[in-house]
Symmetry: D3
Subunit: 151 residues, 6 copies
């Protein structure tokens, strides 16, 4: 959505796709250090040879947090996160893969209690350089209304 | 769960709680840089004065990724993540808050297709220094069976 | 400028201002580590008491690089940097100050040799929370033409 | 200049060259995160294949800030930065390139208002492992006088 | 030692070995930035070709600090560090090497003055993926007694 | 020692002291992430209230690695580290403390096997802003001889 959008501007089905970002070995090291998750699947190249992937793969939380960051570069201060649902990882992200994030508005609705904001859902897909889906999740957000709802 | 546990060792209702970690201004800066999420709610102390929280708060993705990291310090190489559900943020994490993570096994079941592993769910609560719940989510994992299932 | 803009879309005098970012002690530590510049004006709180500022101040290169980053969040892949001129620091950035970046297009011109791109200049001002100018510089960029110039 | 030098010690034409530093993929990731500049020229290996460089290149602000850091390792607390002029990038810095910084004093002059300090300019060249110049700039600094100027 | 162990639980000769961690180029960059140690043996790929190792090697302080971190993932809040002795580096750690840490309790003794704690020594070996010892050191720690010593 | 010094230039008793560096909360966060050492003495402000120090203190490995970095800013490519002995921590480093490093050459001797280098020891003291010694250690290094030893 454009950076100054309000509730009234959202249309179900609207979508955008971000520019790409290559996930590097440095990202895995930084994520491990930031979170404390040093699982050998992500940090131990020898161990990783014995896994089905045959190499280190990105933490699921890394792919998720970076995807949220990528879709947030066009800052819209009218929005806030309410929650996330159904995080799944149909593919692995390997060091050197380049991901893009596709965001589609899937629901727009009144907020049950707060007349100043509305609620929206985004279906988010993380795609690699071969356009394979490596992660999906739903983002539920709150967004200011241009014209507060009458009670 | 203990670091060498297998499927057969899991018991619904078992729980543990981590040691604490203080969320610092540095964590917000590192998370913004790692993900690219520079939303002013997290990065702009002046803007934040105008929000309901009155001050910068941690990114939801920060609290989530750090909580997963905190519960992963006791590495069990027999486990892998399948997905996460229902991430919600009943409270805000402010700079200087100290969080702990409480993990409770909520489900243990056969894997529908793979006889070598089982599936488990953990209910995860993130608590602050006043024992208020600031985040909840469900973690779904896969874990190796000590004795593969007979078909 | 909007993220898909071409040469033909640029208008001298057009300007925009970014959202804010609070410069933290963590930013100074990260900048020192990234660059190797551990000058005591930025890193030694005791020494800094003896300077005219009375406290640690941000590296000039920090303010500059972060300002360029702030104005680059709305990615326009049609543009590239050619150079920068006249970096000056009329004010100091202290830990805790919040900066915004104001960008004004100051020149748009044909490229002397390359008919596929044009050249533009931006006058960039870095403002603190009291709207004082703490840094200025000129950014010279190249931008793809929608319609290549005829020779 | 040596680390305890004063105004009176500076000689136009004096120069030094630093030891080398290899610019790594990690440096690009850290710089993007520190500044918020995630332009695909630096962060997207797939996009970069389509550019004239054929691969990711370092941010101009990275090369500049690291070069200033490299020439600042020998700390002289008697000096401060006044400004920088004419930053140009005659060559690209690729991941794996090793840069050194050559600094030549180009001007030494009285300060127009402050009798306790003098002003000096340094011509700074950033060289890669093939001794190609990849960046140039002028650094203007202030330096304490051993003997304050008489009025 | 297990994470809730007390003085009374320690047995000379007990040992454990950690999971592995691959030392990356990013680790060298982060360590240099964190400490300010930009020696060309670690940071300059061209210079490193001229050394006996023929390539960049990890800082000794990096291997040491990471090894202490690796052996500390299983947090035991009953312990504290008193000192370290005899740090030696029989082998080099190259970028891409994977290290594990083997810890053996070598001494358990009363504290000369404090009846509430005991003192223990650990012999620590850092091994690479070929099981070569690349570093050794002695760690001297203090640990709470379950039953304070009678005077 | 000066940055181009050889074995023949070393004199027992010579000493120097570095400029200062303030240890910040960001340094503790970065060190924990770099090493994986998230002990609550360093990372949990609530737990730390219950310790004798009453507040979070720097990791011993942090103070050590930063001190080695501080004394290494004046790069002498003729030297290499052989080992470290007797690391002790007579005082705690709290967030906000400013440390300097005093280095005194304590021994200079032939290398038993290698005629091209000599061996030297440095006694290293880390001092805080009240000139209290918070850490000591011995550094043993190797240094190239200007004139190789005759056999």
């Amino acid at each position: 959505m454009s950076s100054g959008a309000f509730y009234e501007d959202l249309v179900v089905g609207d979508s955008f796709i971000t520019t790409g970002r290559t996930i590097t070995e440095a990202d895995l090291v930084i994520h491990a250090g930031h979170t404390g998750d040093f699982y050998p699947h992500h940090m131990d190249a020898e161990f990783a040879k014995s896994t089905p992937y045959g190499a280190r793969i990105a933490h699921g939380t890394l792919t998720f947090a970076v995807a949220v960051g990528m879709k947030s570069m066009n800052i819209n201060p009218n929005t806030m996160t309410y929650g996330f649902d159904h995080l799944r990882f149909p593919g692995a992200v390997r060091i050197g893969d380049t991901i893009r994030v596709k965001v589609t508005i899937s629901k727009v609705e009144d907020h049950p209690k707060n007349p100043g904001v509305g609620r929206f859902s985004e279906h988010v897909e993380v795609l690699n350089q071969r356009s394979e889906t490596v992660m999906v999740f739903e983002h539920i957000g709150l967004i200011t209304r241009r014209h507060p709802q009458k009670s």
